[in-house]
């Protein structure tokens, strides 16, 4: 029986030694580095090239990204009947300081990105006015507004690396926002 205790002791000592040698340390996780990649804010600015209607901004803002707290802003797009607007889209990461403008990164990779507009029930038509050289991008567009109506415009950013051909069905949706749109 004595022998048994000796063996037991040897094994338990070796167990402690073996388990205490470790190489990587879970106690120091990397500082969250993908924060610069988060799109927290989508802003679309409507300006009247004729200077008659006031400049209008519609914003979606969700500072902590998907899940967590609810978005803090999701504006209705309000436009005047029988008018034309030039629009520009800005994508920001407002969770970092200073605010990071993701629109610039998208412009650099314009050949991989496409912004799509899906109009439902509202008398508006959209024409993209910018180009990556081959296909349109959609960060800039002209909105032609007809008579009073209410509906939705879904604005999405498609990521289409190496497959962009102007078609909205391809690729991953990085953004998809369904804005209530009122012509009033």
């Amino acid at each position: 029986m004595k022998k048994l205790y000796v063996i037991l002791a040897i094994f338990s000592i070796s167990l402690v030694i073996l388990s205490s040698c470790k190489k990587i340390d879970p106690e120091t996780p990397p500082i969250p580095m993908n924060e610069g990649e988060l799109i927290t804010t989508f802003k679309i600015v409507f300006t009247d090239p004729n200077g008659i209607n006031l400049t209008y901004e519609a914003v979606f803002r969700d500072i902590d990204g998907a899940g967590g707290n609810q978005p803090t802003a999701f504006d209705t797009i309000r436009l005047k009947p029988n008018s034309t607007y030039d629009t520009s889209i800005q994508l920001l990461n407002e969770s970092v300081f200073p605010t990071f403008t993701i629109t610039n990164e998208i412009l650099q990779e314009a050949g991989d990105h496409l912004i799509c507009f899906n109009i439902n029930g509202v008398n508006v038509s959209v024409q993209r006015t910018d180009s990556d050289g081959l296909f349109e991008i959609g960060l800039l567009s002209t909105w032609t507004v007809a008579n009073i109506s209410t509906g939705n415009v879904t604005i999405s950013l498609k990521h289409q690396p190496g497959i962009k051909n102007g078609n909205c069905d391809l690729g991953d949706s990085d953004i998809e926002l369904n804005f209530v749109t009122k012509v009033e």
Partner: protein, 464 residues
């Protein structure tokens, strides 16, 4: 008798897997587009290179096992193991920031290192009684690099147990108990500050069982016991979009251990013609953890996503598993197997989501051996699944799907070519091309299950 024996084992497994780029789900619109398209929206082009999205996996296992035969009745077994699991995920979507993208790093990398030590004492204290006592210890560390997926953690788990089996006459008695303790230390950034959270779980558990052989044909079994498990890291800490399931999953860090009290009784009956196995059980589970749909969907910049939360409740499960085989003729066998479970949420006095529907599968097997020893095997089965209507009202995004009946068939012809066995088979699943959805499949919210599937198989088993 040999006194000592030591075995050293090492293995490595490496794989680089390409992932079908159409399967990455950006948002629900992408998912619906993918489901409704008659062919994948991206056809791609032929290449031998494995491109993004891809997954690199590396497993390494090192093990030492030592045996000491003290005498004919006592044996010690010691085992030490070190396992390293490395997983690198490369997204198709590289970083927007060019300088980050240029590094070519995986979107995230997980390193899990596990050390384990087990000491086991196999013994025979009395005649007719054999047993085992042991200590097992595990130390685990998980680290990530890149995008957050689950937090870093260190886990220490210790278990001590004793199990004895007593045989006399036609009885076999079994009793055991175990104590476990798990310490989980979690390291997570919250609002850019590194926080450390400690979770401790400990529990005694025990089990006892008796089985009796009655005559030549019957065996009866009865088991009583408790069991437990600590919550997993994702049940405690997941919080965000799950790209594989197109859903947001949210953990709860107040979740405690799950403790079950199990009762099980079963009979086996075997004759030349009959083979019957029936088990009934009743399990009381305190602190049962399950993933519950949390309505309404949550709005994100990528559109709305369904939300699922890990919830802890007290629940009871009663059920039956059944399997019957009857040899009708020399070459005909009919069979049926089924499983039925009734579950109830005692915390909210309601039914639960995600409980399997009743299932019964009858089948028939025809087997014929030719004079030249070739064998023909024909099998048909018809799994029947009922609608699960014992669910909490208005608690899911879509109500449980309707019950269904499927027909599956298989014809196998086995023959010998110069002493080499060859199996040729034709398999058809869902022969009637039934349109159905499976309640336990998360994609049932969006799409039907697979239709008729015909497979042809050639199998040549060989030994080196």
């Amino acid at each position: 008798m040999k006194k000592w024996g030591t075995e050293v084992f090492y293995s490595q497994f490496n794989t680089d897997l390409g992932i079908f780029s159409g399967s990455h789900i950006g948002n629900l619109t992408d998912l619906n587009n993918a489901f409704s398209a008659s062919q994948p929206l991206e056809l791609g082009s032929f290449s031998y290179t494995i491109d993004k999205p891809r997954q690199q996996i590396n497993h390494e296992l090192f093990k030492v096992v030592s045996n000491v035969n003290i005498n004919s009745k006592n044996k010690l077994v010691f085992q030490y193991g070190r396992q390293q699991n490395l997983r690198k995920e490369y997204d198709r979507h590289t970083a927007y920031n060019d300088s980050i993208a240029a590094l070519g790093l995986p979107a995230f990398q997980l390193t899990l290192i596990t050390h384990s030590g087990d000491l086991k004492w196999e013994h025979q204290l009395f005649k007719n009684m054999k047993g085992e006592a042991g200590i097992s210890y595990q130390n685990q560390g998980n680290s990530y690099q890149g995008r957050f997926f689950v937090p870093n953690f260190k886990k220490n788990a210790l278990g001590i147990y004793l199990l004895e089996v007593l045989k006399f006459k036609n009885y076999e008695l079994e009793a055991g108990f175990r104590f476990d303790r798990t310490d989980l230390s979690v390291y997570i950034y919250e609002s850019k500050i590194l926080k450390n959270y400690l979770h401790q779980f400990q529990q005694f558990s025990g089990s006892t069982g008796i089985s009796k052989t009655i005559g030549h044909h019957w065996i009866a079994k009865l088991n009583l016991g408790t069991a437990w498990r600590p919550p997993s890291i994702n049940e405690l800490y997941s919080n965000g979009l799950h790209h594989g399931a197109a859903a947001i999953e949210i953990g709860d860090r107040n979740i405690k251990q799950e403790v079950a009290f199990n009762f099980q009784a079963g009979i086996n009956f075997k004759t030349k013609k009959w083979s019957v196995q029936a088990d009934v059980y009743h399990n009381q589970i305190n602190g049962f953890v399950y993933l519950k749909p949390s309505l309404p969907p949550v709005l994100t910049i990528k559109g709305a996503f369904p939300v699922f939360r890990y919830e802890q409740i007290d629940a009871r499960f009663s059920g039956m598993d059944l399997s019957v085989n009857y040899k009708l003729l020399k070459s005909f066998t009919i069979y049926a197997k089924g499983s039925f479970v009734r579950a109830y949420n005692q915390t909210n006095n309601n039914f639960m989501v995600g409980i399997p529907a009743d299932k019964l599968e009858p089948g028939i097997i025809y087997s014929y051996q030719f004079k030249n020893k070739h064998v023909l095997n024909v099998q048909f089965s018809a799994p029947m699944v009922r609608t699960q209507n014992r669910v909490e009202a208005n608690s899911d995004y879509v109500a449980p799907p309707k019950g269904y009946l499927l027909v599956n068939g298989q014809i196998t012809y086995s023959f010998l070519v110069k002493n080499q066995k060859v199996d040729l088979s034709l398999e058809v699943s869902n022969l009637t091309n039934q349109v159905y959805r499976d309640y336990l499949n998360r994609f049932r919210y969006f799409a039907d299950e697979v239709g008729r599937n015909v497979g042809f198989k050639l199998k040549i088993p060989f030994n080196i």
